[in-house]
């Protein structure tokens, strides 16, 4: 853990390896980082590990792994599993069916929702009175609250799927942002209607109040592309950007580009 002091804003930063990836925490304070912030960070980190032990499909004996093998009934699983699967039903509807954890090989797999959901829960535990803002970044799924400094909003880059050294754009989301694409882990996305691997766009980015839902919607949009976009119109507060393999970007009307990077419609 490191406490970094910059003019006017003090920051608490931590990086944790969990859920097979790295999750970072940033807390922003107008005065010295208070002692109880470290306790809140520990709670939040502990929650991530607890969630990982329940949901990890890489841990052979996790409740979700056992559920997938038929060794555990849903009624015997921890409450969080039922809570997450309920939320996945909502996410499936909201995505127009393009996000469907029940149609993945090997049994129900809520991973496309869980990482965002876990990071959002971690943020809820991490944020304290006295913080002007906080960020939890789970490998590119990002939940925010508040502001990084007086008069500023959180600004988050979006990776250019054609060149990961570059940013495609910058967003100022009302809360959370998640991006789905195949350029990091290869062909891991599946079309729920056909059962075959599919990614119709290079990357899909979704912003909105809840990171779990952003995560699920981004997954569905990456699989379904433009066909999956209309479902978003029925969902208040969620916006999307699609970056195709070739050709023009497509985005929902209210997508929160940062003012200095807002593209003209013809892009």
């Amino acid at each position: 853990m490191a406490t970094v002091t910059t003019p006017r804003v003090h920051r608490l930063f931590h990086r944790e390896e969990v859920m097979g990836t790295f999750v970072t925490f940033d807390g922003y304070f107008l005065s010295a980082v208070p002692h109880d912030a470290h306790g809140a960070l520990e709670d939040a980190v502990g929650e991530l590990h607890r969630i990982d032990r329940i949901f990890s499909t890489w841990k052979l004996e996790s409740p979700v792994s056992r559920l997938r093998r038929g060794e555990l009934g849903l009624g015997e699983a921890p409450d969080e599993v039922r809570e997450v699967l309920d939320s996945c039903l909502t996410a499936r509807r909201a995505s127009g069916g393009w996000f469907d954890p029940w149609r993945l090989p090997g049994g129900v797999d809520p991973t496309g929702y869980v990482k965002g959901w876990a990071a959002q829960r971690a943020l809820d535990r991490f944020q304290r009175p006295g913080m002007i803002g906080a960020v939890v970044n789970a490998a590119g799924d990002i939940a925010t609250v508040g502001i990084p400094a007086p008069g500023q909003r959180f600004r988050l880059g979006v990776v250019d799927p054609a060149d990961r050294r570059r940013l495609a754009t910058v967003v100022e989301p009302p809360g959370a942002v998640a991006t789905s694409g195949t350029y990091e882990r290869g062909a891991h996305l599946v079309n729920p209607h056909t059962g075959s691997p599919q990614a119709l766009v290079a990357s899909a980015t979704v912003t909105g109040p809840d990171l779990g839902l952003c995560d699920a919607l981004a997954t569905g949009l990456c699989v379904g592309g433009e066909d999956a976009l209309p479902a978003l119109d029925r969902l208040a507060g969620y916006e999307a950007l699609l970056i195709p393999f070739h050709g023009a970007w497509k985005w929902s009307r209210g997508f929160p580009f940062a003012p200095d990077t807002a593209p003209v419609r013809a892009r």
Binding site: G20, T21, G140, L156, P161, R165, G181
Partner: protein
Amino acid sequence: MLSVKVTVSGSKLTAVTIGTLNDGGNYRSQSIDQYAIPILEQQALAAQSANIQGVSGASYTSAGFAQSLQGALKALGL
């Protein structure tokens, strides 16, 4: 077995070269420029920029990350 040569200016990464041992015991170098910036450098980009607090992209696994650059850099204390 991988050998990793890192060039650092201050705390900023400027170049990395990964070499692999082939059967003859000679090094074949391969620039990893095309591997693009693993999260380390994306985070460094965000941290160094006065203007952004993070980067959203497709998620990477820590295993994949360790195989690329980060593991070697952590070992070097960076």
